[in-house]
């Protein structure tokens, strides 16, 4: 039996009042609910305030480059499919610098759970607009307001038939934990976009702002109905749906590789007989 203590308690470098604390708690709860021991989990993160999160719990961690978590996670998962691979980083990291990998991960449907701390801002670099910043959002770097239309990760993921697409909010820790549990259980790529207030640099999308808008998708909502999911994906200004917005059963990427039938690629001996055959082909 795994307990929350197994994941430990650590000092963080976050600002008091930051939504990241609740996210960290929800993450631990979700991992425990998924009955995973720390050593079976590999966290891959990028660079940013969010990306520091894996340092604040017990697990295997590869904290890589800004924007490049998904390829690292994809390589690790292919090398050892027995690892539960979780990508955790910020909106800038995942949707900005890492945009091309986001598209590829959805298309691959690699069995990785991607948890995005979406504070709609670049936090660590002191508050420039991020891809998810509202159009017109004013920052030091965007004094006339962010000129780009807000990137809607849910809409793009659903439009591309991502395996599992969910949204949660740091103000709903248990809901968050459940989304994480479901995302991890899902075989294939799982996106969980988590609305996370940044008290230092986002004075618009505050805890209250999210709290006022977030509502859980009704019992009758069918995440397998693509059209409905597409609609839900656009709900934002007035009300923001949280929960599993879309899900399907596309086979995970790993299933495409016969060699993985033999389990992890780790520690295998070179089949010398096979190699000799291979060389013969060049005679």
């Amino acid at each position: 039996m795994v307990s929350i203590e197994d994941y430990g308690e650590f000092e963080t470098a976050w600002c008091p009042g930051c939504g990241n604390f609740a996210l960290l708690e929800g993450m631990k709860k979700g991992l425990v609910a998924a009955e995973l021991e720390p050593h079976r989990v590999l966290f891959v993160s990028g660079i940013g305030q969010a990306a520091k999160a894996p340092h604040y719990l017990n697990a295997n961690v590869f904290d890589g480059l800004h924007g490049r978590s998904l390829p690292v996670a994809t390589g690790a998962k292919l090398a050892n499919p027995e690892l539960t691979v979780v990508v955790e980083s910020g909106d800038g990291c995942c949707y900005g610098e890492g945009g091309n990998h986001f598209l590829a991960a959805i298309r691959r449907n690699i069995d990785v759970t991607m948890i995005v701390h979406d504070n709609q801002i670049y936090g660590l670099t002191k508050g420039q607009a991020s891809p998810t910043s509202a159009e017109g959002h004013i920052t030091k770097a965007q004094p006339h307001g962010a000129p780009l239309e807000r990137f809607n990760p849910i809409a793009v993921a659903v439009a591309m038939h991502a395996g599992f697409v969910a949204r949660s909010f740091t103000g709903m820790t248990d809901h968050l934990a459940e989304m994480i549990r479901l995302g991890i259980r899902h075989r294939g790529f799982a996106l969980i976009d988590v609305l996370q207030p940044c008290v230092s640099y986002n004075r618009v999308n505050t805890f209250a702002w999210y709290k006022k808008r977030c509502y859980e998708l009704p019992a009758g909502y069918d995440p397998r109905n693509h059209a409905a999911a597409m609609q839900a994906a656009y709900e934002w200004e007035e009300r923001i749906p949280v929960g599993v917005i879309y899900q399907n059963d596309r086979p995970p990427f790993e299933d495409h590789f016969p060699v993985l039938g033999g389990g992890p690629l780790v520690g295998r001996e070179v089949d010398r007989a096979a190699l000799k055959d291979v060389l013969k082909k060049f005679v």
């Binding site: 390589g75 090398a79 690892l83 690629l265 070179v270 060389l279």
Partner: protein, 583 residues
């Protein structure tokens, strides 16, 4: 008339099947016991244009491409126009009769008489084989085998075309340019540099390769894909080169020996990943197959101009090694060495090749795979006391490595500066400890550097320095001079020989790090030193001066997209005279 070695160039348009004929001819020659050196020169297009496929073959060992053409096989008229001037005295042109030139040197082939359109190239191949006096049956056998994969009737038609061409050519005795029979020898492999790199990787235990297609590197992953299921590895085409290098790093962190292969522009996109591998101390082998730059440059040609780029690629300071194969055998063995170094010192290690070597087929003695060991990522968790410290500070800077999931231990690493346990730190004393630890590995790498190969007597009048694929050209140039077989183009060197002079060669299979003790003496003892490289600025010469202070002022460079030949070297030496100045 007998010729040994013989230089055969096949010319035509892209899409005319040059490569198929050329490769088949190469295979027939290799099976006949000859050595070969193939040079492929093609354009960045799929159909049309002008490509050549040159096979140099002989009974002795051949190391380099050579210039005068003995047999020019023209699949179109343009080939004759373009390459007529390169024909050797007594050389012959084998051309389709529709565009053959009016001259004694040219044998017009009635290709239509041999076979219908689609099989004409095979008919021409029959002519070439007869002209060379190669054994008809074994050659025909290779033809059948080559097309056997397709429908049987295709194989038969090709065989017939071949025999028709062969029979017809046998009668044209004045055009015979017979290769003496080669000594009987055991079966050899026919491999180009990229195939050898792929095989070396697999033999070393490679389990993962991610790539984004880029000439001239693509045939490495393609070769791996061909054997992936059988050898149990994953080869993934990434969305871009940044993904490719990061995927490989992820796979390696998780315990799969990995490799990426690309060319200059793609490597440029991997540079941040190089620094990541160094900081996280993750093993990775990076193959850079050079082509002429800057930017897109000449995508399908050859050059050696990315040496200093690769040597300093990546922000911050960290250890690395760069291996530069000079032969197809070295492609195999140095790739293995790169995997060993990557695992031993836990960081990015490089194999630097180029289009010429990548595409150059050679006859290679079979590798004795039974005695080739594999790399072993990660130790036994039991043997390491808890808590596991991924970046533990040790004497030589190498930390015991464990892979995640292999036990209850946790493996933590970070692209930020970190404490020994791999967690992010901003403690400045921890910082210096980790820098010192990482750089301590430089000593180990330096101690194991593969020494440059020296030939010639102790204090030669002329010392030719080379690296990577230029090896063969320099060695043949030197031996020709020493043996006095330079012929007319050899005046420059013959002078040297005339007054009893000697020529030595110093070849670098490893170009980073450079260890002066291994070569400085040779440079200082030589009367005259000339560095020969496939670039314009003399990059190895620059690195040598950086490492040893020795300034090689005479530099021969080539940067028109073609490989360096002994003839090119001698012309350059002539133009330099005894005095120096670049080619």
């Amino acid at each position: 008339m007998k010729l040994d070695p013989v230089n055969i160039m096949i010319g035509g348009e892209a899409g005319q099947g040059l490569a198929t004929v050329g490769e088949l001819l190469s295979r027939i020659l290799v099976r006949g016991g000859y050595s070969i050196v193939v040079t492929q020169s093609y354009q960045s297009r799929i159909r049309g244009g002008h490509n050549t496929y040159t096979v140099r073959a002989g009974t002795g060992d051949l190391e380099a491409p050579r210039e005068p053409i003995d047999i020019l096989v023209a699949l179109n008229g343009e080939t004759i126009e373009k390459h007529r001037p390169e024909l050797a005295g007594g050389g012959v042109i084998l051309a389709g009769e529709s565009f053959a030139e009016e001259s004694d040197a040219c044998l017009a082939m009635p290709l239509g008489a041999f076979a219908q359109e689609t099989y004409r190239n095979t008919g021409a191949l029959g002519v070439v084989c007869a002209v060379l006096g190669l054994d008809r049956e074994t050659a025909a056998g290779s033809v059948t085998e080559a097309f056997g994969k397709k429908k049987p009737e295709v194989a038969d038609s090709n065989r017939d075309a071949f025999l028709a061409g062969y029979a017809w050519a046998e009668k044209q005795s004045s055009y015979a340019r017979k290769l003496p029979a080669a000594a009987k020898r055991g079966a050899r492999l026919m491999l180009n540099g990229n195939q050898a790199i792929a095989l070396g990787a697999v033999s070393a235990g490679a389990r993962f390769c991610s790539f984004y297609p880029m000439t001239p590197s693509t045939s490495i992953p393609l070769t791996l894909i061909g054997l992936a299921d059988k050898m149990g590895l994953i080869v993934e085409q990434a969305e871009d080169e940044i993904a490719a290098v990061n995927m490989a790093i992820g796979a390696s962190f998780a315990g799969a020996p990995c490799m990426v292969a690309t060319s200059g522009g793609g490597f440029a996109l991997m540079v941040e990943g190089v620094s990541l591998a160094a900081m996280t101390e993750t093993p990775i082998v990076i193959v850079v197959a050079q082509r002429p730059g800057p930017a897109t440059g000449l995508p399908t040609r050859t050059e050696q101009a990315d040496l200093e780029f690769v040597a300093f690629a990546g922000h911050g300071e960290f250890p690395r090694a760069i291996l530069a194969p000079g032969t197809v055998e070295e492609c195999f063995h140095l790739t293995r060495a790169a995997f060993d170094l990557a695992e031993r010192y836990q960081g990015p290690m490089f194999v630097l090749t180029d289009q010429f070597l990548a595409d150059s087929l050679r006859a290679v003695e079979p590798f004795d795979v039974t005695h080739l060991d594999r790399v072993r990522p990660g130790g036994d968790p039991g043997s390491i006391e808890a808590p596991y410290l991924r970046h533990r500070v040790t004497e030589g800077g190498v930390s015991p490595r464990l892979v995640p999931g292999a036990g209850a231990h946790l493996v933590v690493t970070d692209s930020d500066e970190h404490t020994e346990d791999g967690h992010l730190t901003e403690d400045l004393s921890e910082r210096t400890r980790q820098v010192d630890k990482r750089l301590a590995k430089v000593r180990g790498i330096a101690a194991g550097v593969i020494p440059p190969v020296y030939t010639g007597d102790d204090a030669p009048d002329l010392l030719l320095v080379s690296w990577g694929s230029t090896r063969g050209a320099v060695r043949e140039a030197a031996s020709l001079v020493s043996s006095g077989n330079g012929g007319s183009v050899w005046e420059a060197m013959d002078e040297i020989r005339a007054d009893g002079g000697t020529v030595g060669t110093l070849h670098f299979p490893q170009v980073w790090p450079l260890v002066p003790e291994q070569f400085l003496g040779h440079l200082e003892r030589a009367k005259r030193v000339v560095c020969v490289e496939g670039n314009a600025t003399g990059q190895l010469a620059n690195l040598i001066r950086r490492a040893s202070g020795f300034d090689i002022t005479e530099r021969i460079g080539r940067y028109d997209g073609l490989p360096i030949t002994p003839e090119y070297i001698s012309r350059a030496l002539e133009s330099m005279g005894g005095t120096g100045g670049g080619a």
